[in-house]
């Protein structure tokens, strides 16, 4: 990170347009970017900022439906826009490589990892297949993949997400490129896995002195990786600075607002232990086929309180939600609503019981029927449960839209595809509210959203809770969210509740070791955080093994 070579990439006045029906609209508007050899530049911004599009443009590549309409892209003196497709193809993979967000989707499911590793070098004539394969084993080892000799002979589906992401980084390294584009490489991973991948990436980039563009929306992550950070907003540059400078003294309001997100915190609600819990999960054991996914899970949720259920993927958070909603009848134990046991399956529940428990989903895209208009999406529960018709129904829909801070006239007749991600999530909330429930399950409702948008959603949920006396169960893996909104926390691991209690207690040591691991793995805005953490873990010898597989 000390010595940098000469200029490797120079982008001047880049304009990129995307196709919307017949029209071309600009999505990158005159961005300049320079990168020296061995340097790591962080590109940061919310969705729609054009980060990935710029990253791909650095390879002279535009996705289908996009076109580079202006500016210059000089890679090591070669004008990528003017160069022939053959020239560009010969550079891609060989001198500029790419690491995609989802390794699971970006590895071809039909071929073994090592074959895909070797394809680039062999096609580019850099090495023979045999050389490439032995090289792969070497790089797999460097990426700290388990069993580097044989892991390459597995198919993508046989390898876990974190390992795949490392294998993909190794693949990108295959031709020892001058530049690698990392496009949100850890976004899809659990926090504990993320650390492993981040450290492996940082090591290998250092080792081969490769220049990199690191694209992410997560400031804490980019702080660990980048020498310099460029902040983007809607296709335009906001500011650019050295990492430490940027973290310490951002000059633009927008940047400051990004920093500020993490400051949102709700006033904690007073505990109401005396009243009957709105919802109690009691000794639930449940699973699929013969496999138990949940074992003896119990917790209570009271009115006006938010219980956050945290844990990594596979810990049983979502299965718990399925038991509560009745999609998965438990093998043992029961779910009570205001003290009354609920029938185990949703088919056995009365319409009123169904009404009382609503759910908001992580992916608003799949949770809203894309062919129905907002009017019907929100109106249907009101019509079904409350028997509203005609004008009253319309009024109710408009009220709900106002509640979720969307202008009724402008939105009531839209399709979900005509809304932004945050707006869609608000519709999801409105749909749940339309049933006038007492209890809402929020399943990772903010994890697919940008931070500013997510904050808005959290604030809205908070407001509504007060207004309608709602009880929330908040499923999340993001501890920042927990900090912001929860009254109580339930930590789950491998289908069991490992720790639960009021939020204040949870964030105070001593912790259960697993809670400790989770808490310590959340990246912090300190550029030295990762280095320090790894050193600490090295010293302690604990935790790393649990997350590293």
């Amino acid at each position: 990170m000390s010595e940098k070579g000469g200029r490797l990439l120079e982008i001047r006045g880049l304009w990129i347009e995307g196709q919307a029906d017949e029209d071309w609209v600009p999505i990158v508007k005159g961005v300049d970017l320079t990168l020296d050899r061995g340097e790591v530049l962080g590109l940061i911004g919310e969705s729609g900022a054009g980060k990935s599009t710029i990253g791909l443009a650095a390879m002279g590549y535009a996705r289908d439906g996009c076109r580079i309409s202006g500016g210059e892209i000089l890679f090591d003196g070669i004008d990528l826009r003017a160069a022939s497709e053959a020239t560009r193809r010969s550079l891609r993979g060989r001198r500029i490589a790419y690491v995609a967000q989802s390794a699971a989707a970006s590895f071809n499911p039909a071929h073994r990892l090592i074959a895909q590793y070797a394809e680039g070098p062999v096609r580019h004539g850099v090495m023979s297949a045999a050389e490439a394969e032995s090289d792969a084993v070497d790089l797999y080892a460097r990426m700290r993949l388990p069993d580097p000799e044989s892991i390459g002979f597995r198919y993508p589906h046989q390898v876990s997400g974190g390992q795949l992401q490392r294998a993909m980084t190794a693949m990108a390294m295959a031709c020892r490129p001058d530049l690698i584009i990392f496009d949100e490489p850890t976004t899809a991973l659990d926090v504990t896995t993320q650390i492993e991948v981040l450290s492996a990436i940082r090591d290998i980039v250092d080792r081969f002195d490769t220049a990199a563009i690191y694209i992410t929306h997560d400031l804490a992550v980019v702080a660990q990786m980048a020498d310099r950070i460029k902040v983007l907003l809607r296709g335009e540059e906001v500011e650019e600075a050295d990492t430490r400078t940027m973290l310490a003294t951002p000059s633009e309001d927008y940047t400051r607002s990004l920093w500020a997100v993490r400051s949102f915190a709700r006033a904690e609600q007073p505990p109401a232990r005396d009243a009957t819990a709105v919802l109690s999960v009691e000794g639930v054991t449940a699973g699929y086929d013969r496999l138990d996914v949940l074992r003896d899970v119990s917790f209570d949720i009271h009115a006006r309180r938010t219980v956050a259920v945290v844990g990594e993927s596979g810990s049983g958070k979502s299965t718990t939600a399925r038991v509560i909603t009745g999609l998965l009848p438990p093998r043992m134990g029961e779910v009570r609503f205001e003290g009354t046991p609920l029938p185990p399956g949703y088919r056995g529940r009365s319409r009123d019981q169904l009404r009382q428990i609503q759910m908001i989903y992580q992916m608003a895209d799949t949770a809203l029927n894309p062919k129905l208009r907002i009017r019907d999406l929100i109106g249907r529960p009101a019509q079904m449960y409350l028997g509203l018709r005609g004008k009253r129904l319309e009024e109710r829909v408009r009220d709900l839209l106002s509640l979720i801070e969307l202008e009724p006239d402008a939105h009531i007749d839209r399709l979900p595809s005509e809304l932004s991600g945050g707006q869609k999530q608000r519709i999801g909330i409105a749909r749940a509210l339309a049933a006038e429930p007492r209890f809402i399950i929020c399943d990772e409702v903010t994890s697919a959203l940008d931070q500013l948008v997510a904050e808005g959603i959290l604030r809205l949920l908070d407001k509504l809770q007060g207004e309608f006396d709602l009880a929330y169960m908040f499923i999340t893996h993001d501890l920042a969210t927990v900090r912001a909104i929860a009254d109580e926390v339930v930590v789950m691991k491998e289908g069991r509740v490992v720790e639960q209690g009021p939020k204040a207690d949870m964030f105070q040591p001593p912790h259960h070791p697993y809670t400790e691991l989770l808490l310590s793995s959340v990246p912090e805005m300190d550029p030295d955080w990762l280095t320090d953490l790894l050193e600490r873990r090295e010293a302690g010898g604990a935790g790393a093994g649990a997350a590293g597989t």
Partner: protein, 307 residues
Amino acid sequence: MGFLTGVVILAVVVAVALAAGWLFRAMMVAILPAGAGRTLRTAPPAAGFGMLVILLYILVALFAPLIAPFGEREIVGPEFLPWGDTHLLGTDNLGRDMLSRLVYAARNTIGIAFVTTALAFLIGSVLGILAALTGGWLDQLLARAVDVLMAIPALIFALLLLTIVGTSIVNMILVIALIDSTRVFRLARAVSMNIVVMDYMEAARLRGEGTWHLIVREILPNAMAPLVAEFGLRFCFVFLTISALSFLGLGIQPPTADWGAMVRDTATLISFGDVTPLLPAGAIALLTVSVNFVVDWQLHRASGLKE
């Protein structure tokens, strides 16, 4: 020989067709309200041409009696008159006006094919979606039943069934619809399998929605694109099935005019280089190609692939 001339004519026809498609699209964009117009503007000329042809066919079918110069069954002159002023496309083997027969055949053929295909889709898609939705024994039962029906060759099965129930037009529609519905079932089931796992389906189930609402409001609109594409192909295959049946002596019987049977009746003439059978065959082909141009465009739009 006329072959080269044919190629030149074909090229001209293609050029004119594309131009017509382009013009038609431009015209419709101008006429239609903004939303539909914007969608339409994305249509390639081929799809524009397809829509134009389909529209023309529908008009011809609807207004056959107004367009046809003579009656469908009316014997208006000597048999096998050449093309001329009174009889633009000449007369057929009984002395009926060829053009009029073609026009009326549009009505019969399209009408029968449409009813048949619609019926096949009604049966096939409802059952297919239902199978995907409910799963379990009903799904297994329906899937196995369809397997069984598909294991019997379609033409043989149609032959057997039509022999049993007799060859009226109604029976033919029912039999072909039944056989075709098995194909639709498989598609509808496969498509729905991907839809029933969506979160909005879960939400609707948890809301306590009934099966019919789930099928009609939640699944069907989302399964529409592939089903419509299949509808286009099936619609055209129905003509072919009917004409194959008429080859085996079971199709639409004269004097009702239909393109499949008209090809069949005049097919021997092609052995002598007479172009008469090309007229009804061309009518089928033009419609098939047009329908599929539109279907391709729709599928392309639905796939979200932009190129």
